[in-house]
């Protein structure tokens, strides 16, 4: 495992005409997913495909394409899967709404528990009050 890691992202140094462009490149390859090793970004992956895709991103940026154009180009070919930050649409509603639903459920549960533990002790009716008084009298 050590060898592929060592020859990873920095395998072939890519040239940029400006630092700003290089920074955009670095941000992009962090947020794009390598499809071969699915839990790595293009920046982390040492797979051949990731190398190709990094070169592609580099080439497109040097050609003057915008970040969105680069993202769209890859999404058109590989699908939303290539983005670590998938767009909100019908197929991703469950993904995006899950945290909010979980939070809502948690609030409901906490509220229920808080309410039930907050209940005042029940008041005694006249009969019970008399028994209580008698018991107290007996104790004294």
């Amino acid at each position: 495992m050590l060898v592929p890691l060592a020859v990873g992202a920095a395998d072939i140094p890519l040239a940029f005409e400006s630092e700003a462009l290089e920074r955009r490149y670095e941000v992009l390859i962090e947020e794009l997913r390598c499809l071969v090793c699915q839990n790595q970004s293009l920046a982390d992956s040492s797979a051949d495909l990731a190398q190709d895709m990094r070169e592609l991103v580099h080439r497109m940026l040097v050609e003057g394409r915008s970040d969105d154009e680069v993202r769209q180009f890859l999404v058109d070919r590989y699908g939303d899967f290539v983005l670590y930050d998938p767009p909100l649409k019908v197929s991703t509603i469950a993904l995006w709404s899950a945290p909010a639903i979980m939070l809502l459920l948690a609030i409901l549960v906490v509220a229920r528990v808080a309410r039930s533990s907050n209940k005042r002790p029940p008041t005694l009716n006249d009969e019970e009050q008399r028994i209580l008084a008698r018991l107290r009298a007996e104790r004294d």
Partner: protein
């Protein structure tokens, strides 16, 4: 009873969700290309270096199979393709992906050539436009050049029989 019913139902739901998740193949990435036309390309044929374009796919449904001589997994599905082509079950166009001519030709000579023709794509340009990431990949392209199906990884006899061949048959029946 109600006190315990809710957590138990919740627990069962979570287990069910995780169980379904485990049966899914994370490598199965839905292709955005399904239902779209084959990307335009102009490449050469491996066999005789003559030009081939997307127009080649007009007229009847075909398989487009991405292969390479360096691709180990391709050898797994190759006998299946050779057999299907011999029995005239399907017309297969190969996409020789990121390969070199000598190795590719030697590989076909050794393992058999099921391809009506192979598109020679040494730089992977068409492969990129097709979103290829796990060779072998197999596409079903209909008579109008529209991509109707994509399979990533080696085709199994079951997949071929249960998914690919029936799809081809229904495409042949389409106007």
């Amino acid at each position: 009873m109600v006190r315990f019913a809710l957590p138990i139902i919740g627990f069962i739901l979570v287990v069910a969700l995780l169980a379904v998740g485990l049966t899914k193949d994370p490598r199965h990435v839905p292709s955005p290309l399904i239902g779209k036309a084959l990307p335009l390309f102009e490449l050469t044929q491996l066999r005789d270096r003559t030009t081939i374009t997307a127009a080649h796919f007009e007229g009847r449904p075909r398989l487009l199979n991405v292969w390479a001589s360096w691709c180990v997994a391709c050898r797994t599905e190759h006998p299946l393709l050779v057999n299907a082509a011999q029995q005239k079950q399907v017309e297969i166009v190969g996409l020789n992906y990121k390969d070199n001519e000598t190795n590719a030709k030697a590989w076909l000579a050794k393992h058999g050539d099921p391809y009506a023709t192979s598109i020679f794509d040494p730089d992977g340009t068409l492969g990129l436009d097709l979103g290829v990431y796990g060779v072998p990949e197999t596409f079903v392209v209909d008579a109008h050049g529209i991509i109707r199906y994509k399979h990533i990884g080696p085709l199994s006899a079951d997949t071929l029989k249960a998914e690919v061949l029936p799809l081809l048959a229904s495409l042949r029946a389409e106007p």
